[in-house]
């Protein structure tokens, strides 16, 4: 038996390795290769076409002196933090409410989740229409007799990002609710019983026992929300086009506009590299914790 020629390291699990080729290519060529390419070119003076005229940190200096970029960053921060908090809180509360053995659970769940099936373009257009002060909510409240009522988030630079947030939450919380509900359902019935026997009020059970037990669910959910926030481009484009003025600009749009519209690739690359950097700042500590945890578990 020992002489039958042990397959070499390379050919062990050959099929599995072949099956993983698309993943390896994607990981190396697109995710690593393309990213490095972009990062490298962010130090160049590329305009309409990429070139290799290195200019050091010029693009970054300019980037951080741009009011529009600062506003974009601020908007992303507001949108990101709010949507993380609100979708987790709302999603969890909805899930907890649906978990109370209520009637029509399926109906409610379907209602909360359906917007997730719709695109950001659709979402943006619908909410643009509802928030339209001439036809939408503002007009209705006014027609009820509150003549001075003002609700025009899409036309008020100070709050426009919250107008986008309303639409974003409408689209996304259903999924969070579903994830949370699945997490809640995965919790051992006996834990609830034990807590009841211990006389722990429901809210305390949720806060001190259930939520800590759902750590994995929360992390998955945060991952999903975070990658959703990165995508927040279509929604802004459809709903406000970055307006009024530049009040609802987001970094993704800055990148796109500079790369293509303003024909300043270097600036676009620099901005996208900054986006990448801020993502890494969040992701690396998380990944470190995750993987460390996995090692000690395994």
């Amino acid at each position: 038996m020992a002489q039958t020629g042990r397959p070499t390291q390379l050919f062990r699990n050959m099929s599995a390795k072949i099956a993983a080729i698309p993943m390896v290519l994607t990981a190396l060529v697109v995710f690593v290769g393309a990213t490095l390419w972009t990062v490298y070119h962010s130090f160049t003076k590329s305009k309409l076409l990429p070139n290799s005229k290195l200019v050091g940190l010029d693009q970054y200096e300019r980037l951080w002196s741009q009011n529009r970029w600062l506003i974009s960053i601020e908007n992303l921060a507001i949108y990101g933090i709010c949507s993380m908090i609100f979708s987790l809180v709302i999603g969890f509360l909805l899930a907890a409410m649906l978990d109370q053995k209520i009637r029509f659970e399926n109906t409610f769940r379907s209602i909360f989740l359906y917007p997730f099936a719709l695109s950001f373009i659709v979402t943006g257009l619908v909410w643009q229409w509802i928030l339209n002060p001439e036809f939408g909510i503002q007009k209705i409240i006014r027609s009820l007799g509150f003549e001075e009522f003002v609700f025009d988030p899409l036309y008020n630079p100070d709050i426009v990002i919250y107008g986008v947030l309303i639409a974003g939450l409408w689209q996304g919380t259903g999924l969070i609710m579903c994830l949370m509900l699945a997490g809640l359902r995965g919790i051992d019935e006996d834990i609830w019983k034990a807590a009841r026997v211990d006389g722990i009020p429901m809210w305390k059970t949720y806060v001190f026992i259930i939520i800590p037990m759902m750590r994995a669910v929360f992390i998955t959910t945060l991952v999903i929300i975070a990658s959703g926030i990165v995508k927040v481009y279509d929604l802004v484009v459809a709903q406000t086009s970055g307006g009024p003025g530049i009040a609802s600009e987001v970094p993704a749009k800055y990148v796109y506009d500079y790369m293509f519209k303003n024909q300043n690739l270097g600036q676009g690359f620099a901005a996208s590299t900054m986006m990448l950097l801020s993502v890494l700042v969040i992701v690396i500590p998380w990944a470190y914790l995750e993987f460390k945890g996995e090692r000690s578990r395994g």
Binding site: L49, I71, G245, I246, A247, D257, Y258, F260
Partner: protein
């Protein structure tokens, strides 16, 4: 397949002219409003009549949306047959990268240099002495469009210049009319600013800032006056919650707004709405103050292609676009001025005639789109749209930032 070859062979032997060889050319452009679409249809009709096929690749939204798509396709190795681009700085790098078809041959054969008026338009198409695009029209952004109906309602006379316009604004407000319609897209606010620079600051200021990129001029007292006037105009547009320029134009057409600062392409919209210049609306070039127009305009580029048949068709399209009949048909619909001085425009309306006269008098300016890089333009647009929408920013602040952009301009 065989039948087709046979048919082709037969046609060749029968001596049917080469032009009859049908080639599909995809043409991308961002002319999607009513008036614009009607104008494009003229190009398509002419091209199709010649036996070829115009495959329309309209991209909605402003040029800002469409240009990236067009450019990335050219760079991405899937060029369209022809595409609209503002000539000048935008296409410069594409030309330098050798991605555009050299039209010098037909241009010389047809004597474009003599036809095109003003000849400066052709300069925008020229790189290193070679011609790479066909200018198709002259567009001037410096117009104020006024609704007669709105002024009737408000009970004031239709203003004859910017100062009168500003003075009449309170009356319009009283009548529940927004004095100045303004779309929210950033290029519109920039257009209004450039226009006011001509009107308030004067032609020299405009030239030194835009063409010569003179930061000192941008910081001058004259420029400060422009910024102040611009800041004052902000309040006039309160209540105009529209995005697109043609929606803003529509506010003027329906007398919801008193006026709009917009390029002469707005005329197409008035035409589609069956409005008559001088009766239903008034147009004031240079805001009625300095009657000059910038000779910007649209041009068509023909990305290089390996297929000789397509190259031939591209050349056919190029020479068609510049031909007399097509120029007249197109520009009447578009509301723009033709690029050749030798065409008959008796059908032109009041506004167009004003434009033609200014053109004939030579009161022309270069257009920002043609002299500034897209990068600089983008920055100015960002500044202007932010300024317009947020009253927190003072005119002085905005000027300071503007000066910085001009200093950095390349």
């Amino acid at each position: 397949m065989k039948l087709k070859t046979l048919a082709a062979a037969l046609m060749l032997t029968a001596g049917i002219p080469l032009a009859a060889q049908a080639t599909d050319l995809e043409v991308t452009h961002w002319w999607t409003s009513g008036g614009e679409a009607a104008a494009v249809a003229e190009f398509a009709k002419a091209f199709n009549d010649g036996g070829d096929k115009w495959v329309d690749g309209a991209i909605a939204g402003s040029g800002g949306v469409a240009r990236p798509i067009i450019i990335s396709r050219i760079i991405g190795g899937d060029p369209m047959g022809a595409t609209q681009l503002n000539h000048g700085r935008q296409a410069e790098e594409l030309v330098e990268a050798g991605l555009m078809l050299d039209l010098t041959e037909i241009a010389e054969a047809e004597g474009w240099r003599d036809l095109v008026n003003p000849v400066r338009l052709l300069d925008g198409c020229t790189v290193d002495g070679k011609i790479y695009c066909v200018p198709v029209n002259i567009h001037s952004p410096q117009w104020l469009w006024l609704s007669h109906e709105a002024y009737e309602k408000a009970g004031v006379a239709v203003p004859a210049n910017w100062d009168e316009f500003v003075a009449s604004a309170p009356k319009l407000r009283e009548a529940g009319i927004v004095p100045l319609a303004m779309g929210q897209q950033s290029w519109q606010t920039q257009l209004a600013f450039d226009t006011m620079m001509v009107a308030v600051g004067g032609i020299d200021l405009y030239k030194s800032i835009l063409s010569d990129k003179d930061a000192k001029a941008a910081a001058s007292a004259e420029a400060t006056a422009v910024f102040e006037a611009y800041a004052a105009a902000r309040s006039l547009s309160e209540g105009s919650n529209v995005q697109d320029w043609n929606q803003a134009t529509n506010m003027v057409i329906t007398a919801k707004a008193g006026g709009q600062i917009m390029g002469d392409w707005a005329q197409g919209e008035f035409q589609v709405a069956n409005q008559v210049a001088g009766e239903d609306y008034t147009c004031l070039p240079g805001l009625g103050v300095n009657e000059v127009i910038a000779t910007g305009g649209d041009a068509f580029y023909f990305p290089k292609n390996d297929d000789p048949e397509i190259t031939a068709a591209q050349k056919r399209m190029a020479s068609q676009m510049i031909s007399k009949e097509v120029q007249v048909a197109f520009n009447l619909k578009k509301g723009s001025l033709p690029i050749r001085g030798d065409v008959d425009l008796t059908a032109a309306n009041d506004c167009m005639k004003k434009g033609l006269k200014i053109l004939a008098d030579g009161n022309i300016l270069p257009d920002g789109v043609n002299v500034q890089s897209a990068d600089t333009q983008g920055q100015i647009q960002d500044l202007m749209v932010e300024f317009w929408n947020s009253t927190d920013i003072t005119a002085a602040d905005a000027q300071k930032r503007y000066v910085a952009i001009i200093e950095d301009a390349d």
